[in-house]
């Protein structure tokens, strides 16, 4: 999440909460062309934010994410057909009010982007996409749905999106909405009043490996700041913290959730990324399917594994992974100290013979070769309350 291709500050895009982040003293970075808070040092910083989400609650401004609506009123079934063509998961399984993790693929079976598909209505879908790939995604969706009788709307700029995450997220949001949150299961959503705003989308989704909600509200500055402040006020008794992209990255890494241009990209296919369970080959044809069928028959040249450092040293994005003789195996896609585990963890692509649990590999950390071992992923898995009660 380092600032790459930094254009001049003025060229960076800003969310409606940009001024608020600056007032809070956030450290800002260029993330995919967006001027975003990486951490709020004044209220604790990255590690405190990470722990707040694991143990209490935190709030993230994720308004930089994009939203594409695919819908039709006159041609029943066409919106679904378009979504099925565009994405790899099986959207026909979605009930109204349900969402699924999925991805849009190139004909090569590699990633345009990963997305969350929400079914808003009978013939109405909302795809939530990444910030850095917004324009590319919108163009891709429009181009590849031209043959379907459905409308495609880019709604990215009409929403401010807040992610309220952590075991107390439900307690915080409960104070601000009339919606019955307990009836919303993970990866389901509803519409309700949030802070007096009627018909707000409330989804039980997130990118932290923790329970939580993402809410979608109007994107004007006044409303956005009012809702943010209301969330902070409601969260006070749970010691809520504003959280930046730094904690978002360590949280999603512990939960082994993919980040575009890291674990998934236009050169990595679905099988390599280990996202098989979100790819429904049996649903019928879709973009990328033919290439994936071939790739499946050919077998894997590399696969994504979780690593834990044995030697002192932190594997970072882009570092090389080698065998005991120094032979190149692959690259680290994400690496960081894990605030929850107190260990240094990483994700890397390695050839399958090196992917068994317990396999030893080496990471080139500057001048040193540091030993690491392949471990089970996700590195962190929350204990679900519902299953604990059973």
């Amino acid at each position: 999440m380092e600032s790459v291709n930094s254009p001049a500050n003025s060229a960076l895009r800003k969310t409606p909460l940009n001024a608020l982040h600056r007032r809070l003293g956030a450290k800002m970075v260029n993330f995919g062309g967006w001027d975003m808070p990486v951490a709020y040092p004044g209220s604790g910083g990255l590690v405190a934010e990470h722990k707040a989400v694991r143990n209490g609650v935190g709030v993230f401004d994720v308004s930089h994410m994009g939203d594409i609506r695919i819908h039709t009123e006159k041609h029943p079934g066409e919106a679904l057909r378009a979504v099925q063509h565009l994405t790899m998961n099986d959207a026909s399984k979605l009930a109204i009010g349900q969402a699924q993790y999925s991805a849009m693929l190139y004909p090569e079976g590699t990633f345009v982007d990963d997305v969350i598909v929400h079914r808003l209505g009978e013939d109405d879908y909302l795809l939530v996409i990444n910030a850095g790939t917004r324009e590319k995604d919108v163009h891709w969706v429009k181009k590849n749905t031209a043959g379907f009788d459905c409308a495609v709307d880019d709604l990215s700029d009409i929403y401010t999106q807040l992610a309220i995450q952590g075991p107390h997220a439900v307690d915080v949001l409960r104070k601000l909405t009339d919606a019955n949150l307990d009836s919303i299961k993970s990866y389901w959503f509803t519409h309700g009043i949030v802070c007096g705003l009627k018909n707000s989308l409330i989804a039980r989704t997130g990118y932290t490996g923790e329970d939580g909600f993402e809410i979608y509200i109007p994107s004007d500055v006044t409303t956005s700041e009012r809702v943010w402040n209301a969330v902070m006020e409601a969260g006070k008794e749970f010691a809520i913290l504003p959280c930046g992209l730094g904690a978002r990255n360590t949280l999603r890494l512990e939960a082994k959730m993919a980040l575009y241009e890291h674990e998934i990209s236009d050169t990595i296919n679905v099988w390599e990324a280990g996202l098989d369970r979100y790819c429904k080959m049996a649903k019928g044809n879709f973009l990328g399917r033919a290439a994936l069928e071939k790739a499946h028959a050919a077998g894997l040249a590399r696969t994504l594994v979780g690593l834990e450092m044995i030697d002192r040293g932190i594997a970072r994005d882009g570092y090389s992974c080698v065998d005991e003789h120094g032979k190149f195996l692959g690259v680290i896609t994400s690496g960081s100290p894990s605030p929850t585990l107190g260990k240094n963890i990483a994700l890397a692509y390695v050839p399958p013979p090196h992917s068994a649990l317990g396999s030893k590999v080496y990471v080139e950390v500057r001048a040193q070769r540091c030993k690491a071992q392949v471990v089970a992923t996700p590195f962190y898995k929350r204990i679900r309350k519902a299953s604990a009660k059973q």
Binding site: N9, M28, A39, P41, G246, I314, P337, P339, R366
Partner: protein, 133 residues
């Protein structure tokens, strides 16, 4: 946090205190604040030669690795033993117990070319203005 007036400072946010041919080097409060929680420090062994402007150590936060540049030429005589197990000392006491190395100065006069505390404070104030612009 105040910047000690007896120290000299670099544009890369290192400080050095020179005393009778020996220099103690650390990173400034501004630098530790920019880095966030320090979790790992890699220091050179005694005997290592440092060249002004060249990296000699790295300090890692959860978020990133920062290379540390030698303010002047010299030879390492001691690396701070505290930082191996308590790297966060750099956050709590950047100008004191969180020092990185002590070196034998190649030329005691070299430090005179670096910024004094007032000049460094003006420099970082300018940086902060740029960042919030």
């Amino acid at each position: 946090m105040a910047y000690p007036t007896q120290y000299r400072y670099t544009k890369d946010h290192e400080w050095i205190e020179a005393k009778g041919g020996t220099g103690t080097i650390g990173i400034t409060d501004y630098a530790q604040h920019e880095l966030g929680d320090v979790v790992f420090v890699e220091l050179p062994k005694p005997g290592t030669k440092l060249a002004a402007g060249k990296t000699f150590a790295s300090v890692e936060s959860v978020k990133a690795v920062s290379e540390i540049y030698a303010p002047v030429d010299g030879e390492v005589v001691e690396a701070n033993p505290v930082l191996q197990n308590r790297p966060e000392t750099i956050n709590s006491e950047p100008h004191g117990a969180g020092w990185l190395v002590k070196i034998k100065l190649a030329n005691a006069a070299d430090v005179n070319g670096l910024m004094g505390a007032a000049a460094y404070e003006a420099y970082i104030e300018e940086k902060q203005k740029e960042a919030s612009a």
